[in-house]
Each structure stands twice: as C-alpha cells, then as structure tokens.
C-alpha cells in the first residue's frame, strides 16, 4: 500500500520542518507549503489524505484556504493548527468542516491520536464512496430478459467473453439493449469491482468527445477552469463502454487506436503521459465492414476492436421474448409508480405479438410505460398501447405457421362474438363440428 499523503501548511519554516520530520518517521509521504496559494496549487495537482493547516498566515488566511480545499477535495481531512488566541476562528473552521483543531504547541500524543482518527475517517469516507459506487453500479445492471434460443446464444457468448480481457464489439439495431449486454460482460468479468464508464460517441461533438475521453488540464481551453479526468482515466481497472463507435470521426479513430495499443494518453493541454488499464467494450448499430470498405472507418482500428463480436438480435426475430419482456416492464413500472401489477389482455398480447418493433426493446418498454400511465383497470388493453399496425410498420411475420394464424383468427372471432360458436362458424365459413374440432386441436375455449 502506498504511503498516506499529508500536506503541512504553515508560514513558519521551523514548524514545517519539525512536522515534516515527525510525519516522515510515521511513514507518511509529506509535502509542505508556506502559504495558502502554494497549498492550493499542490492540492490541485493531487489529493492529500490529511492537511495540517495553520490559521494565521500572511496573504490568504486559513479559513479561506480551508474553504478552497473543501471545493477541491471534499474527502481531505483538514486539521487546524492554531495559537490559543485564535480558538474562536478554529471553531469557525470546524463549522466549515475541518476535522479538528489543535493549539500550538501540541502534545505529541494528542497529535498522534488526532491524525490516527483523521485517517480512520478518511478511510471510512473512501470506503463509503466505493460502496456507493458499487451499489449504484449493481443497480444499473438490469436483468436481461430473454428465453429465446437467439438470446440464449447471446448469454453464452457473454459468459465466454467475460472471462477474457478481449475487446468486444456489440452489434445490433437501436434499442436492442447493447449497453445492457456491455454491462453484463463487465459484471461477469474479473474487472467487476472496478467501474464501468459509458460514453456515447454518437451524441457528442468531436471536440467535446476528445475532452470527455482524455480529460483536460486546467487552462487547456477556454472554460477549462479545473483539471478534469477523462472517461478513459476513470475507467482504470474497469471497463470503458464506447457506444456508437461507428460514428467516431477519423481524427478520434487515430487517437483511440493509439490508446488501445499503448494504454497511455495525455490529458488535453497536458504533457504528462497517463496509463489506464481498461477493457474496451464498444457497440454500434452500423455495419462496420461497410464503413471500412467505404473508408470512413479505419481498418486497423476495426481489427483492433473486432476481437470478439456479439450480435444482439432485433425483437422481431425473437418474438418468444415479447411477452416475458412486457410482463417484466409491467412489473417494473408498477413498482416505480406504486401501482398494482396489471395483466395483459389477449387483444393487447396479440397486438404486441404482431407489431414489428422497429425501435426494439426500448420501444416495447416505452409502450408499456405509457400503457401503465394512461390505462386504468386490471388489464392493459390494446387501445392502451401506442401501436398502430397499419402505420407502425407492422407486417405479418412471414415465419408464422398457417396453424398459428388459424388459431389466432378463431380466437379473435370467438372473442368478438362473445363465445357464440354457431355465429363464429358462420363467420368463418365452416360448420360447427369443424370449428369444435379446431378449437379442441388449438386449445381454444369459448370464453377465450
């Protein structure tokens, strides 16, 4: 474990030297500053576990310095050093969040205990932050619903690739849940205790994307008032999920290729090379091979990222999953809205099954959410769903069997005629016995 860092801020050289020696013997990495401005500059360059801060200094006073330190690093434990005469100011510092204060000269045992307690608080704070991030990360991993053979194959691929550290490309139409797949890969990988950091390359202009990915130094460009870590740096130890990689500009493709090859980069406006150990998972709805052929996507980057490819099928190709997904979303929004769960009526179920879902799972989720908002009663009806077969691009799925269509039509006619078999037989153009035989064969009941 690396040494804990302590910053000693005091205008008296002898105090700085004495405390420096004292804490070096305790195994701390010690830095000293002679005034507030120098201290803030040091704080800007990197975090400190403990700051020992003299209240009475020329230039910027200790209270102002403390406020600025809190802005720069909320987790730093500030211990105020003060003379007896300024205890009132020290109390003010405590109200502003200082860990504690000591009056000079301080008993070595008091200082030792204070620093030990401050470190303990610092460790608890850090642990708390880590746990919150973990909880938040776990909460973000929604279950992927899908019993269809195609989705089972996807799950198999996730399990296979998660164990490796290979780059993964997730392909699929918009709304198929590519980010969920990426999160599942991360959650099952050895990197799962570190963050997964997501960036949508398609929604950010190139200039901003560069800063977003690589971070920037203070003053790197107009408005860069503070140093900011980029997503690549934040993903250290974990996974970087780069959505819509097919939309990345040629310049960014070169930068990305370099980072992928060296795992090193510099922040915008900076000179220092930073290393980040991350695994890249990217996604696209575009055909990368076509983009390579047309020259809009670099071939070398393509080969670098296309180590393992997971194809997420569109919802229309896994119709078996529609109802389980619909029920999952009903339960999800019932919980979120504090409403009881609602069943899906046969007509609504039929509509969900017949619709072509150009927006895939995202569209299904939106449809269910809307139905849960506007609908009333115990069931979701077809009219609660914002789906229009004639306008919504719905077509009869060609892969359906004649028997399935026949069963569905019989069910629908019986439903409309209140279960009257004689009338239904007339409408269908068959005799009652034939209709009964078909109902028996398909398991259709009069009260369906």
């Amino acid at each position: 474990m690396s040494a804990r860092k302590i910053l000693i801020v005091d205008d008296e050289l002898s105090v700085r030297q004495s405390l420096r020696e004292w804490f070096l013997e305790d195994g701390f990495a010690v830095t000293t500053a002679e005034d507030g401005a120098a201290a803030l500059q040091l704080m800007d360059d990197g975090p400190y576990d403990i700051v020992l801060l003299d209240l009475k200094m020329p230039g910027m006073d200790g209270i102002t310095v403390q406020k600025r330190i809190r802005e720069l690093d909320k987790g730093a434990c500030v211990i105020i050093l003060t003379a007896f005469a300024s205890v009132e100011t020290a109390v003010e510092a405590l109200k502003l969040g200082a860990f504690d204060y000591v009056t000079k000269p301080v008993d070595p045992d008091d200082l030792s205990n204070l620093v030990r307690n401050a470190l303990r608080q610092r460790e608890l704070t850090e642990e708390n932050v880590r746990l919150k991030e973990k909880v938040s990360e776990l909460a973000q991993v929604s279950p992927i619903v899908g019993d269809s053979p195609k989705m089972q194959r996807v799950f198999d691929m996730i399990r296979t690739v998660a164990e490796t550290d290979s780059t993964v490309v997730i392909r699929g139409e918009s709304g198929t849940g590519k980010e969920l797949i990426a999160r599942a890969v991360h959650a099952q990988s050895k990197r799962r205790f570190f963050p997964i950091v997501a960036v949508n390359a398609g929604s950010i202009p190139e200039s901003l994307l560069e800063s977003e990915l690589f971070g920037h130094e203070k003053g790197a460009f107009t408005g860069a008032q503070y140093r900011r870590k980029g997503k690549i740096e934040l993903a250290h130890g974990g996974t970087l999920f780069l959505d819509e990689i097919g939309d990345v500009t040629p310049k960014m493709q070169i930068d990305l290729l370099r980072v992928l090859e060296t795992k090193r980069f510099t922040r915008l406006g900076g000179n220092q090379e930073i290393t980040s150990d991350f695994r890249l998972v990217c996604a696209t709805h575009k055909n990368l091979e076509q983009l390579v052929e047309t020259g809009t996507f670099r071939e070398d980057l393509y080969y670098r990222i296309n180590v393992f490819s997971i194809e997420v099928p569109p919802l229309r190709e896994r119709t078996d999953d529609i109802m389980p997904l619909a029920r999952f979303f009903v339960a999800k929004y019932a919980r979120a809205m504090g409403k009881p769960e609602r069943a899906v009526s046969p007509d609504a179920e039929r509509l969900l099954g017949e619709y072509r879902w150009p927006g895939n799972v995202r569209e299904l989720e939106n449809a269910i959410e809307r139905a849960m908002v506007i609908g009333s009663g115990e069931t979701i009806r077809a009219e609660d769903l914002p789906l229009h077969l004639e306008n919504g691009g719905a077509v009869e799925p060609v892969e359906r069997s004649l028997a399935a269509v026949e069963k569905e039509h019989i069910t629908r006619v019986l439903e409309e005629l209140g279960g009257n078999v004689s009338q239904a037989a007339k409408v269908l153009g068959i005799d009652r016995a034939t209709l009964y035989n078909k109902m028996k064969r398909y398991g259709v009941r009069r009260d369906t």
Binding site: S14, S18, E21, L24, D26, L81, P105, D107, L111
Partner: protein, 182 residues
C-alpha cells in the same frame, strides 16, 4: 568492517549506566558501539520561554561530529527536548541519515513524581536509543506495539514495547543493507 554506532554523552552528562546502554544498543543492532563524551554549543538550541532545548538544532550540531562515513552518532542528554509545534519529544533523528538524539529527561520516573529507579530509566533509554537509531537506519514507525519501532508518545507506551526490532523491521533493515542488525 561495519561502521560503529557512537553514543555521545553531551556536555558532561555522565549517567552511571552508560555501559548498560551501550550493551543494549549493541545487542539490538549487532554493531560495534563506542561511547564518547562530546561538548557542543547548546546555547543556540535553548528556548528560554519553554525552558527546553530545540532537538533539531542539537541534531544539526551533532551531525557535524560524525567520526567516519557510514557511522551513526546518537547524542544522549538529560535536557528536555522539543520541536516547534510539539510540547516535547523523547528524541529526534535524521531519517535514513547519520545522527539522532535522545533525552533522558522524561524517561526518569521521578519526572512523574515517582521514586527514582535507575534500572527502569536505562531500560527506557535503551528502547528510545534503539528506536531513534532505527530511524537513522531508515526505519519508520511500526504498527506492532511490541516492536521497538512502535511510536511512543508517552512513557507508558515506551514501557509496553520491547527493546528489539520485530521480524518485519529486521527484514527492512536487511533490505536496506544493514544486515548485521537483528
């Protein structure tokens, strides 16, 4: 040949247990130990308002008297020592350097209103001498409360710990090339 550790009794301080202290240091460090008398100018280190001596300034003066390269010098004084900010120190050392200083002032039971006990005083003196010399050989404080390198900010803590280095500190000394220490 291993450079020795010099125990420098400062400005006429001559306790009866000098040889016992030397033996204790020799046993802990497995190095030759020599006892010397040294006079240094303490006037500049004296803080009248505190009635104490500035340990860092004494240490700086001591470092001018290191007899040979690679040797360590430990000043032993009966004066009460301090460093700015702290009310007192038992001793101070130059981390991974050539010198250190210890004060017997607060190690004596009579400082705390207890009966004089030279045996206890020298036992504490050995521990503080070995502790400060440990810093001079590059060791930092040790979390093992029985190890002599455990930080002691009051005298009861000095009594609690042993007078030798723990295994981890011995290993660290060996890594640092002070293989004769044990």
């Amino acid at each position: 040949m291993t450079p020795p550790v010099y125990l420098a009794f400062l400005n006429g301080y001559a306790p009866p247990w000098q040889d016992v202290l030397a033996d204790g240091v020799r046993e802990a460090l497995s190095r030759p130990v020599r006892t010397v008398r040294l006079g240094i100018d303490l006037a500049a280190a004296y803080a009248r308002e505190r009635e104490q001596y500035h340990a860092t300034l004494i240490l700086a003066a001591l470092l001018r008297h290191v007899p040979e390269p690679g040797a360590r010098i430990l000043g032993v004084t009966a004066f009460d020592l301090y460093i700015p900010v702290l009310t007192f120190v038992f001793g101070q050392s130059q981390l991974d350097g050539s010198g250190a200083v210890v004060s017997i002032h607060r190690l004596r039971p009579e400082y705390y209103g207890l009966p004089r006990d030279e045996g206890l005083t020298v036992e504490r003196a050995i521990k503080e001498a070995v502790h400060e010399l440990g810093h001079a050989f590059g060791l930092v404080h040790c979390p093992d409360y029985t190890c002599v390198m455990h930080a002691s900010t009051y005298v009861e803590e000095v009594d609690l710990k042993g007078s030798g280095y723990c295994d981890a500190c011995v290993e660290e000394l060996q890594v640092r090339g002070h293989a004769s220490a044990r």
